[in-house]
């Protein structure tokens, strides 16, 4: 059973890599697509990428760990991005972040035990006019107050 699964994964990764083979600068888009497929960059997946692109594992991991976008651990079903940019900071985003942590009992860059949420403070979401801002998956919530956090989180399963 496990073996079949592994073979499936390898097949899928190869399929993602195929159109990029021989093209310049393909490692980052491949990592992006693979992560999109599996949710995070598993070790076995990284092995396949390294083998297929004929690059050392260290190079693949070097890139994967350099960028904030890539994750080596499983992610929650929903990602909460609490904006900690300057405009949001001035308008009280630290209190928003603290309230999210307290409500979900989760730390920064961590995932809740039930895999419901991952909490990611981010530098700026570019919606400064609505500060303070939180983005859950692709939905942006602006002009927030700490009191407004719980009703929003409750909307997500």
């Amino acid at each position: 059973m496990v073996r079949v699964q592994t073979a499936d994964i390898e097949e899928k990764v190869k399929e993602i890599i195929e159109p990029w083979k021989g093209k310049k600068g393909s490692l980052i888009p491949i990592l992006q697509n693979v992560q999109h497929e599996f949710g995070y960059l598993r070790e076995d997946v990284m092995e396949v990428i390294s083998r297929e692109l004929r690059i050392p594992m260290a190079e693949a991991y070097g890139v994967a760990t350099f960028y904030a976008q890539f994750h080596l651990k499983p992610r929650g079903r929903h990602v909460i991005r609490v904006c900690r940019g300057t405009a949001c900071h001035v308008r009280g985003s630290l209190k928003i972040l603290d309230r999210v942590k307290e409500t979900l009992n989760v730390g920064e860059h961590e995932t809740t035990d039930d895999l419901r949420f991952t909490l990611e403070p981010v530098a700026c979401l570019g919606a400064c006019g609505l500060a303070p801002v939180v983005m859950i998956d692709d939905t942006t919530y602006g002009r927030l107050t700490p009191e407004g956090i719980k009703p929003i989180l409750d909307k997500y399963e």
Partner: protein
Amino acid sequence: MALYRAHVLVCRGTGCTASGSGPLYETFRKELARRGLDKEVMLVETGCHGMCEMGPIVVVYPEGSFYCRVKPEDVPELVEEHLYKGRILQRLLYTTPDVEKIKIPHYRDIPFYGKQRRIVLRNCGYINPDNIEEYIARDGYQALAKVLLELPAEETLDIVKKSGLRGRGGAGFPTGRKWEFARMAPGDKKYIVCNADEGDPGAFMDRSVLEGDPHSVVEGMLIGAYIIGSDEGYIYCRAEYPLAIKRLNTAIEQAEELGLIGDNIMGTDFSFHLHIKEGAGAFVCGEETALMASIEGKRGMPNPRPPFPANSGLWGKPTNINNVETWANIPQIILNGAEWFSSVGTETSKGTKIFALTGKVNNTGLVEAPMGMTLREVIFDIGGGIPNNKKFKAVQLGGPSGGCLPESMLDTPVDYESINATGAIMGSGGMVVTDEDTCIVDFAKFFLTFVQNESCGKCPFCRIGTKRMLEILERICEGKGKLEDLDLLEDLAQKVKDGSLCALGGTAPNPVQTTIKYFRDEYIAHIVDKKCPAKVCTALIHYTIDPDKCIGCTRCARECPVQAISGEVKKPHLIDQDLCIKCGRCMAVCPVKAISVE
């Protein structure tokens, strides 16, 4: 082509979308259809108007009526009144934030827009960014035609040089000269790149241009490519901007369909192909050599210059990199001429600059102002001043590595040289306004935390020096600072600047240096008096309940997350200072304002 008697423009920029303009657009569509107005009134999704605070924004033409914070439930009334009966719906008009509360019916009369000069943002909010024909109708791709079919390449380059346009990404290098270097560089394969890795917290001008008028950037790049002799280009855009990426993809597809991108453009022998690269979340990739490393699929770490990208850039080929706003200026300069462009601005800084005006200011949003306008005009005339009768404290210019300027510097004109002279930088154009509630030491600590996190780690001074500086600031905020710490900070700041390869380290100490220079008193208050004047640094403040005012309603005790408040019902409550985490929630919920912070 169908003719419409009125146009309803619904803003679908990121700000307004977050405020709910998606459902609003749908409601308009249904309501217009229900009333049989859909053949007479055209509904358009536009990019950002810049006044995100007032979103969702709806503009109705031909009158140019500007409606703010429109909700789906307002739609039937708005359609009935404005589009059926021809009466402007007063209650949704923009109202001035001052005491007079004047309602302003027309877009052009709103003070926020009155003092602006929109060259780069001229199409944002007017056209549907997903429709190339609307861009073409506003003279789109005319400049490209002029460059390809009429002007000799030298003449085009001359126009760009004479216009005095300087790089809008922050450094302000003359664009024409940059192009000339790349044009002169030997090599048959050359690249051009658009830097859309807008990582500065508090800046969103590039995002709005890409979302509101993507073709202006594409056209600018085509012109640049032709002059330099490049047949391939990249737009490096943050993955955090999904809408901008979507609109760019649509723009490129549509331009390809019309033969404006591809082989033998407009029947000439000029061919050009354009790709989008999504950034993966690293602030340092806004630095051009790091950006190119990232496009190449490597860790985005800066490299020493020279060699400059103009000679050895992407994959070792001559490469020209410009920022989104710079590219978007090009078509207008070609169409209207160098003299027209250089008539706007100051002696050394020509044209306009877009600022992201945010923080404690009434009209937050995007502002495009002629260079040379003073900070005071931008913040108080366009921005409408500070909300809630608070006092202005500082404006932070140029992103996390910019500087904080006090009230006394507000008459500084906004141009590259004047801003640099204050110790701040123009940067990408972020302008964050703070009021008396912001602690300046905490603010400096905030910026340093950011650059410390984003340092790529290549240069020891940037990697370790900023860390040590941060520790000193943390010490000061905890009331454990010494006066010598200020000298140490200043000394380290200079060394980090001198010892770093790229602009990230080279400018990282700016917030610390400018705050020590202009707000030394506040540092001293933290160090000597052990007080935080803005009441932000938790180690230096404590909350107390005034027993004479407290009515014993128990709300604070119930709200307190650490059960630090005790007291009987209808009797004065007390805060246990040892348990209190100073979150301030008790003060926020107290109905009689009996809780104060000192």
